[in-house]
């Protein structure tokens, strides 16, 4: 390495390093220490694993996490099911002339903040909302029904907010796929079903994996959508962390929950990668 490239390397390396170290690593170290301290009955702070033990011994905490993790997996799967046909249509079916326009149409709702989009759904779905108004005036319903505040509407909201993060990697990996593979399979007599599972899915696997990881993590860490659209049973794990920090003033417990969320979600992703025999490095390249 000569002197010039070295200088260039530091110019780009130092900001990234400072950013990571000062804003991410350092606060996490403090949180880690905090999570390992526990206030005993005498009111003194002592080193202890009690905060972590609390998570496993108290049913409401680990049950909430389990429920949220299962919902996040479901949301990831549904998001894939919804976005894959869209991505396929845009990249393979429609004339390339309209491709850019369609992608812009797809991205446009995401220029608006998540909060505004969620409120948009609430205006549509609520008991005195737009959909109920039309259903009643068309005499399909006798009186308005409440469509908000249940798990179905919450999952729909979560799928909607995370669609973008699935569709973009799918489009880019489908874009790179040569159409002649599909034509060749056709010529050799493969059915549509076989083409889809033997050619299209394996080829787009890296895109599916990276999209799924992002959607899973975002859903697991979402706070806003479950809180606003979910019903009385929509306790999300992030809300429990917030409650520990803000409502109970128990920062130590909240920090322990934060670390558990990080560790357990990484574990779930690792298991998912092993089960589907995918490789993280390949998915991110």
């Amino acid at each position: 390495m000569n002197k010039h490239t070295k200088f260039g390397f530091y110019i780009f390396f130092i900001p990234v390093f400072l950013w990571l170290f000062l804003l991410i690593v350092l606060p996490h170290i403090e949180l880690l220490f905090m999570s390992l301290k526990y206030e005993n009955d005498m009111g003194e702070m002592v080193w202890s694993l009690q905060n972590y033990k609390e998570f496993f011994s108290e049913e409401i905490y680990w049950l909430t996490f389990l429920r949220v993790a299962l919902y996040a997996i479901l949301v990831t799967f549904l998001t894939f099911v919804v976005t894959f046909p869209i991505a396929f249509y845009i990249t393979k079916v429609v004339s390339p002339k309209y491709k850019g326009f369609l992608i812009i149409l797809l991205l446009m709702p995401f220029w608006v903040s998540e909060l505004v989009r969620v409120y948009g759904w609430m205006i549509l779905l609520r008991e005195s909302g737009v959909i109920n108004y039309f259903l009643v005036s068309l005499h399909i319903l006798d009186k308005p029904i409440e469509m908000l505040y249940n798990d179905v509407s919450m999952i729909m909201g979560l799928v909607y907010t995370s669609m973008l993060f699935m569709v973009v990697p799918l489009i880019s990996s489908l874009d790179g796929m040569d159409d002649s593979y599909i034509e060749a399979a056709h010529d050799l007599g493969a059915s549509k079903f076989i083409i889809f599972f033997k050619i299209v899915i394996p080829y787009t696997a890296p895109g599916i994996v990276s999209g799924s990881i992002v959607v899973f993590m975002l859903t697991l860490g979402n706070y806003l959508t479950p809180n606003l659209m979910g019903g009385k049973n929509s306790l999300w794990f992030t809300e429990q962390i917030y409650n520990q920090f803000i409502a109970s003033f128990n920062w130590n417990q909240g920090a322990a929950f934060g670390f558990l969320l990080l560790l357990l979600s990484s574990l779930i992703i690792w298991i998912g990668l092993k089960l589907t025999k995918q490789n993280l490095a390949k998915a991110l390249s």
Partner: protein, 353 residues
């Protein structure tokens, strides 16, 4: 290269310096507590620029705790949430009451707040405004809703809403004929009472339409008739009454819950002189009356009552009989250990099926 770096550092230092030097007053408060007209008037009179941050009790405490009392010059916590927090985290500055124009404050209220916010020799709060939590009821659709127990009443199934926060637990406990405030000192008895409240709220969970997250959401559900019985603040109920006479605030039979919000000065406030100016400014009769006429909260300012709109006085008389006023349960200071108990109970209610 080096030259460029030095000039850019100098430029940044100059810029941030000029921002810091400008006379600003950073206020951590509730929505509505600093009406725009009053902020503009204050800025014109004193030349101090006001910056507002909206928050609530829990977030105020957490924010100030995170910075150890820095970042704001005035905070407005409720009087019952000051002393235990101050004893533990030391986030406020002791107030110098000689700098406060106590002639313009209702004496009994000032004394009560001084007493309730005392830690050691010092006190930490000045009263600003007060109000109560109780029921907001659609009187046409739910004419018999009179107490917190109606939040658990099957008659109003699907038309009930409340916040899943500590006032709801306390209200339901009062409606059971118990007195949670009397049990503040006895953690065990308080926990037993809250456990029974938890059981009641879990049993009544299918009756509630939702647990509302903010006051605006509640008001819009009441307006549209989606909710007929709710727990809420008096000023919200009165705001709705003005739009639709069927809706009104009702002081519950077992007692409305009375709160007093205060002015406090964070431990590392930069503009302390400005903070005292703001406190005295906001409690001046004409300004306090403007605030109450605008927001419908009661004021701690002595001379303001004479300047209130007739409508504001009528509100109060309509919702509170003499007996109701005597029955208001004022929040005593909360011991820190109780918040932990309540936090877990709220989590359990929300996660219950």
């Amino acid at each position: 290269m080096k030259k460029l770096a030095i000039t850019s550092v100098a430029a940044v230092a100059l810029l941030s310096g000029s921002v810091l030097n400008a006379d600003t007053l950073k206020i951590l408060t509730w929505k509505g507590y600093a009406p725009k007209a009053l902020v503009e008037k204050f800025e014109k009179q004193t030349g101090i620029k006001v910056e507002l941050t909206y928050s609530n009790n829990e977030e105020m405490i957490s924010k100030l705790r995170a910075t150890r009392g820095a970042g704001f010059d005035v905070a407005q916590p409720s009087q019952d949430r000051i002393s235990s927090v101050q004893a533990k985290y030391k986030i406020y500055k002791a107030l110098d009451y000689s700098k406060i124009d106590s002639k313009q404050i209702i004496t009994s209220m000032l004394d009560a707040v001084k007493k309730n916010t005392k830690v050691g020799e010092d006190s930490f709060g000045v009263p600003f405004c007060y109000g109560t939590s109780g029921l907001i009821v659609n009187k046409k659709l739910a004419p018999n809703a009179k107490d917190y127990s109606d939040l658990l009443n099957p008659e109003y199934k699907g038309k009930i809403s409340y916040r899943l926060k500590r006032p709801t637990l306390i209200g339901v406990a009062f409606a059971k004929g118990d007195d949670p405030f009397a049990k503040y000192g006895d953690t065990k008895a308080y926990k037993a009472l809250m456990d029974s409240v938890q059981a009641d709220l879990i049993k009544a969970k299918p009756l509630a339409k939702n647990y509302y997250a903010n006051g605006d959401a509640l008001l819009s559900m009441l307006r549209s008739g989606e909710v007929t019985v709710a727990m809420g603040w008096d000023n919200g109920g009165w705001k709705l009454h003005k739009e639709n006479p069927d809706l009104d605030f009702v002081a519950p039979k077992s007692g409305a819950l009375g709160w007093i919000d205060t002015f406090a000065i964070p431990a590392k406030a930069k503009n302390v002189a400005g903070a005292y100016k703001w406190i005295n400014f906001m409690l001046k009769p004409e300004n306090a009356a403007y605030f109450t006429n605008d927001q419908a909260y009661g004021t701690a300012s002595k001379g303001a009552t004479a300047l209130l709109d007739a409508e504001k006085k009528a509100n109060f008389q309509r919702s509170f009989s003499k007996a109701d006023i005597d029955n208001i349960k004022w929040y005593p200071p909360v011991p820190a250990v109780l918040e932990k108990i309540e936090g877990k109970i709220l989590d359990k209610i929300k996660s219950a099926k």
